[in-house]
């Protein structure tokens, strides 16, 4: 990056909590329903209704707090954040301000210098989401769908500890992984269940005072977070180096043009006049409740990663990929425990061929065409030399398209590896006899031709000869000449 400027980034991540009903009402939170069919009188802010807090929302927020070593506030308070917008029927959003439910906490990411870096979490608070505005195709009108109004959100606010777009993405990925491990958020970024605003500023390297920040909104993919922040850093450097000042403002990221531009809101729109919501009482959480939630915490990605490296002896980079999601980690463990193949071989196949097939068909690991037991069956046949690694790819594809177990495919297609050394020897003899020119060149010192001979033998055997044995036999017989 630029040597003269230091980048300072803080993220506000909104994670939609995976409840059945809304934070303050009994309306459904299911995604994709017809407009306004899941917006009840409480969500619409009708006179005379009272919000009642969803217990599950409190439990989920606690779970997150415990997972990041935060303090769970014994007493937290809901406040009204006042502003006017058509998708906010009450004229205020119920949020938390001075007394949030989760205070402090921290997370370790891989920093830009390759070292571990601790990112401090300021707070995480509960709030309700607003509705959606639709601007296209309605002439002089905007359409309002309030199904999303009242959906529970956990807003996770970091300290400005991130120093680059790359670190910001690493932090966001880590939070994404944690909320899915905890099963408190589905993490679906296309549906907006997990989204982020970034506060970005720059300052001359060495200066302690923070520069003026811009808030970037509308960052709904990891790639956009990285691109938007990098664009914004360059923009701010240009502004300052041209003698200007960065304005404190909210900017929208436009992914089509890869640029950020200011929103047209007025300055005073940021004066939210928070005050405690008189409709809601303070939320009190006791030690017993916290202890009960702590009991339900799963093994988290960081701990799982350490265990995979220590117990299975797999590469750390592989452990990081495998532990990014809990179902993937579970799949790896199930395969490794069911197969005689080495854990590193299992990791290689899960990250390689299996993930590629899932990606190609747009499937989640949960919908994999191959169960862990089936993959283990295939890897066992490599391990016991029934098939080579190369043939295994063919078997894998056949299994993926539903041709049965590894043994079924190997049998049906006659793919069993040739390991009978007399059979291999006779094929090797035939190949040597058929290629006198190459044999002479090889014997004159052109060692690289060994690949040609191996290829010929494999062609003769449709790839079924054991590669190690073929190599050995070729070298032995070519040396005999």
């Amino acid at each position: 990056m630029n040597a003269a400027w230091e980048v300072v980034i803080g993220l506000e991540i909104h994670a939609q909590l995976a409840t059945s009903s809304k934070i303050f009402s009994g309306a459904s939170t299911a995604y994709g329903a017809d407009p306004n069919t899941q917006a009840c009188l409480v969500d619409l802010g009708y006179p005379g209704v009272l919000p009642v807090l969803n217990a599950e929302v409190v439990r989920m927020a606690c779970k997150f707090g415990l997972a990041v070593d935060a303090t769970i506030a014994p007493r937290s308070v809901f406040a009204r954040k006042n502003y006017f917008y058509p998708d906010l029927p009450k004229g205020y959003q119920i949020s938390q301000y001075e007394l949030p439910i989760v205070v402090g906490g921290e997370l370790v990411i891989a920093g830009d210098d390759g070292e571990e870096k601790c990112i401090r979490i300021t707070r995480a608070h509960l709030e309700e989401d607003a509705g959606k505005s639709i601007h296209e195709g309605l002439d002089q009108y905007s359409g309002i769908d309030l199904n999303r109004a009242g959906t529970p959100l956990l807003e996770i606010v970091s300290e400005p500890d991130l120093s680059s777009a790359k670190e910001a993405v690493a932090y966001m990925r880590k939070i994404h992984s944690i909320v899915r491990y905890l099963e408190i958020c589905d993490g679906n970024m296309q549906e907006g269940s997990f989204r982020c605003d970034a506060n970005v500023s720059i300052r001359p390297r060495g200066q302690t005072e923070l520069g003026t920040r811009a808030e970037l909104k509308n960052l709904n993919s990891f790639r956009f977070v990285e691109k938007a922040i990098n664009y914004e850093i360059e923009r701010q450097i240009d502004v300052i180096e041209d003698g200007g000042c960065v304005r404190q403002e909210t900017r929208l990221y436009d992914s089509d043009r890869n640029e950020t531009r200011p929103m047209r809101s007025k300055e005073e729109a940021n004066d939210y006049r928070y005050f405690p919501d008189p409709d809601l009482l303070p939320v009190e959480i006791d030690e017993a409740f916290i202890a009960a939630v702590r009991e339900t915490l799963p093994e988290l990605p960081g701990a799982k990663q350490e265990r995979f490296v220590a117990d299975y002896g797999i590469k750390r980079d592989d452990a990081i990929i495998l532990t990014a999601s809990r179902p993937l980690a579970d799949y790896f463990e199930a395969t490794a425990s069911a197969s005689a193949a080495s854990a590193q071989t299992v990791a290689h196949w899960v990250i390689g061929d299996l993930s590629a097939a899932l990606n190609r068909d747009g499937l989640d690991i949960a919908d994999s065409a191959l169960s862990a037991a089936q993959l283990a069956g295939l890897l066992d046949r490599i391990d016991d030399n029934t098939i080579s690694g190369k043939i295994a790819k063919e078997v894998f594809d056949a299994m993926w398209s539903g041709e049965g177990s590894a043994d079924d495919v190997i049998e049906a297609r006659g793919l069993r590896q040739i390991t009978d050394s007399s059979a291999i020897d006779s094929i090797v003899d035939a190949v040597i006899a058929a290629n006198p020119g190459q044999v002479a060149e090889y014997r004159a010192g052109k060692d690289k031709l060994i690949g040609f001979f191996v290829g010929q033998v494999m062609k003769e055997t449709a790839g079924k000869a054991n590669p190690g044995q073929v190599n050995e036999a070729l070298k032995r017989k070519l040396a005999e000449g």
Binding site: S20, A27, N36, A39, V52, S142, G143, L146, E268, P276
Partner: protein, 95 residues
């Protein structure tokens, strides 16, 4: 006067209220009296008092996470001034 005319105008704008010029002095005076009254409370010693978030001395009751509300769109939208394909229609908003 503890409040200025500009402050009152600012609050009115945030609240989407229009205050006529001839009413302004009266509103500034009345709001200032309320603010002055609150200022008296500020003078009370509160070092050892836990801040009160609600006058009821109890805590929030929680409800189970269950869907209890059905689709009432038709009934509710009978109150709306304009709807289209299930959407509420409002004057075009930008941003």
């Amino acid at each position: 006067m503890s409040l200025s005319k500009d402050q009152v105008q600012h609050i009115a704008t945030l609240a989407r209220l229009t205050i006529a010029e001839e009413e302004m002095d009266d509103v500034v005076g009345k709001l200032s009296r309320i603010v002055d009254f609150v200022d008296q409370l500020q003078a009370a010693p509160t070092e050892n008092v836990v801040p009160m978030a609600h006058p009821l001395n109890t805590c929030q009751r929680l409800r189970a996470d269950a869907v209890t509300e059905g689709n009432e769109r038709d009934r509710i939208q009978a109150n709306a001034s304009a709807v289209h394909d299930g959407l509420y229609l409002v004057p075009k908003v930008l941003d």
